[in-house]
Symmetry: C2
Subunit: 76 residues, 2 copies
């Protein structure tokens, strides 16, 4: 099964959501990408439909925007 | 362990998120409450910090607002 991808940007909302998500999803089923430190991935995130972080892109392609930390536009 | 509670209101955004959440969280760890049909629970949701649905209230008290279907105010 393809992994889910959790995109975040290191903000407090992101870090809190990351802990919660990693609590409820087995860690080997989710890849965590920090868009603040890995700017090359911002385009990937955007083309997956991520509009803000934190967000979880599921293996079926659906995007769950979880709370609101920062807009993807602010990470470019 | 206390269960997480997934609040929704039957809207398309909610139904889609519900499927995704129940895919990634074991079903016996989450209780699903439909606020559209069970209006008595709207107050509980609100006092847990739910501002919109769909939302997942975790056993640690944190609220994950997932995408945006409807404001809790619209369900009263």
């Amino acid at each position: 099964m393809a992994k889910a991808i959790f995109y975040h940007a290191g903000c407090p909302v992101c870090v809190s959501a990351e802990k919660d998500i990693l609590n409820i999803i087995p860690e080997n089923q989710v890849e965590v990408i920090h868009l603040g430190t890995d700017k090359t991935k911002v385009k990937d995130a955007e083309s997956s439909g991520v509009k803000s972080v934190p967000a979880l892109v599921l293996s079926n392609g659906n995007v769950l925007h979880i709370n609101f930390g920062a807009s993807i536009d602010d990470l470019k």
